[in-house]
Amino acid sequence: MNERVIAVVTAGLTTPSSSRLLADQLSAAVADELSGRGISSRIETIEVRDHAHDLTNNLLTGFPSAELREVLETVEAADALIVVSPTFSASYSGLFKMFFDVLDDQALAGKPVLLAATGGTERHSLVLDFALRPLFAYLKALPVPTGVYAASTDWGPNAAGLRPRITQAAGELVAALHHETPTKSDPFTNPTPFEDLLNS
């Protein structure tokens, strides 16, 4: 079956959300790019806002609700990830970070990620490289070189400037898909034999 699953994590708060708008344009561009190569795609878009209470509860109790668990598993199982955070106080938003705080720290290892952010001012576009990129480096994900930042003006007079960046980033994400993602061994199916634990 030649299908790729792209998970989209978008953390906008307002309705309509400019982060969601950007997320939809990015995922459409990635789907186009894939179909151009004869590959079909399934886009799983996750609005972090819908899980805000569950995320707080997970931080407090140490385990995700059944609903949140499903969402986390979707992200973990996806072939690639698109993430979009609104810029809050010159960084990703707290809610966006919470999502990646509760995700297993190995869940994104080796996974191609397209980094994107929205903001009020274009002067904060380096949030992509100074905030998002180190976070995904820590998570051992593979962020593609081009990130996409959309300030308020990008939805008006500068819209023409946004388009090529979206296409560029989508192309890079699809190219990165050829990476083999490392398969994780399930400790419940293959536990470390006790002799190995004793002798290590």
Binding site: L60, T61, F63, S65, F188, P191, T192, P193, F194
Partner: protein
């Protein structure tokens, strides 16, 4: 099947009155709870070990010894004994001593502890958590089973010709449970030795607990201790009961909402759905507890958390009356009726002593039949 209570030993303000017990009051309350547990016919009282406020029980054998002197039937246990940061030599000695004083009414649940700073306070490194649990327990087993031990490991000073004293009562070490929440390695350890496995599930969804228990059972069989359904499993539970379900919910809600660990998080209703917490009538507790069996198989030990989050002692003692009078007798009957004959009960001092005697008799009957291990050379021929 064994039923009992386990106490964390937290000193927490009663959110409905603003009253916080003193440490002394809390310690005495734990004793009162243990005595009540015996009085209402429960089988086990287990207590935690902690080395930081707001918890009081830093010296479990002092407290359990005091309880042993005032009880005659109930098994005294731990939930948990910190196998990572306690010296295994001291665990061997403390619990053998307690065994003698309590006439064998002692078992232990090993745990790695959930408080990071405890490791450096006791000269250890949390990154060695699993390795410490593995090495310390391997030494503890030898100290209880061999009269003279020569030993060298990574984490404590070597031992030369060392004898832990007193020797275990009747030469039978206390039964050990391995308490775990999320580490498959601990399920593996329990399975390897054929020890008990206790999943501390009270804050966890049933799907996770099931996965851990299934792993332990599968590996128990793999290591040749019996069939998977003969492995020795224990789980926790957390209940609050009143005759009318709504009264239980109304009374417990402020304690739940302000509880350490999960307070100010999920709603009582969400948490009840996701974890074993049951707030309602005794009948609801009976039904919920019986349902555990469908997920975990026939199991041997059910402990309830009854005394945390600032619940006053008076309320806890009332809860124990309900548990002992209305809930446990029904559960005993129902679980026993469902359990197939080949599934064993949890080992006790008496059963372990009898098994040791049987093994000794078999040895003398078979006397000269000492089977030598083939040497490497022989086995390759």
């Amino acid at each position: 099947m064994q039923f009992g209570v386990f106490s964390v030993g937290d000193v927490t303000e009663d959110p409905t009155t603003g009253v916080t017990p003193t440490e002394g009051e809390r310690i005495k309350a734990m004793v009162a709870i243990a005595l009540k547990a015996e009085e209402v016919g429960l089988d086990v009282f287990a207590q935690g070990e902690h080395h930081n406020p707001p918890f009081v029980p830093s010296s479990p054998t002092t407290q359990l010894g005091f309880i042993a002197a005032q009880t005659s039937k109930i098994i005294l246990s731990t939930s948990t004994t910190l196998i990572t940061t306690n010296d295994p030599v001291k665990i061997a000695e403390d619990y053998a001593m307690l065994q003698h004083l309590a006439d064998g009414r002692v078992d232990l649940m090993m745990g790695r502890g959930n408080t990071g700073p405890v490791y450096p306070w006791f000269g250890q490194d949390i990154r060695n958590g699993i390795a410490l649990a593995v090495e310390n327990y391997a030494l503890l087993r030898r100290l209880w089973r061999e009269d003279v031990v020569d030993w060298e490991g990574k984490f404590r000073t070597p031992l030369q010709g060392f004898t832990a004293t007193p020797r275990p009562l009747d030469g039978v070490p206390p039964f050990v449970w391995h308490g775990s929440i999320r580490s498959p390695e601990i399920a593996e350890q329990a399975a390897y030795y054929g020890d008990g496995f206790f999943h501390n599930n009270i804050f966890w969804p049933i799907s996770h607990t099931k996965q851990m228990i299934e792993l332990y059972r599968r590996r128990f069989e793999h290591y040749g201790h019996g069939a998977a359904d003969q492995a020795i499993v224990g789980v926790g539970g957390q209940v609050f009961m009143r005759k009318n379900s709504q009264d239980a919910v109304r009374e417990f809600r402020p304690y739940f909402d302000n509880a350490p660990v999960y307070g100010h998080g999920p709603s009582l209703e969400d948490f009840t759905r996701e974890t074993p917490l049951t707030v309602g009538s005794p009948q609801e507790v009976i039904e919920r507890t019986l349902s555990f069996r469908e997920h975990f198989g026939d199991y041997q030990r059910q402990l309830f958390l009854m005394d945390h989050a600032g619940l006053p002692l008076k309320t806890v003692l009332e809860q124990l009356d309900i548990l002992g009078e209305e809930v446990v007798p029904v559960l005993r009957k129902e679980f026993a009726a469902l359990k197939p004959a080949h599934v064993p009960d949890a080992p006790t001092h008496a059963s372990l002593k009898a098994a040791a005697e049987r093994a000794r008799q078999l040895e003398t009957i078979d006397e000269p039949a000492v089977v030598a291990e083939p040497t490497a050379e022989e086995s390759t021929r």
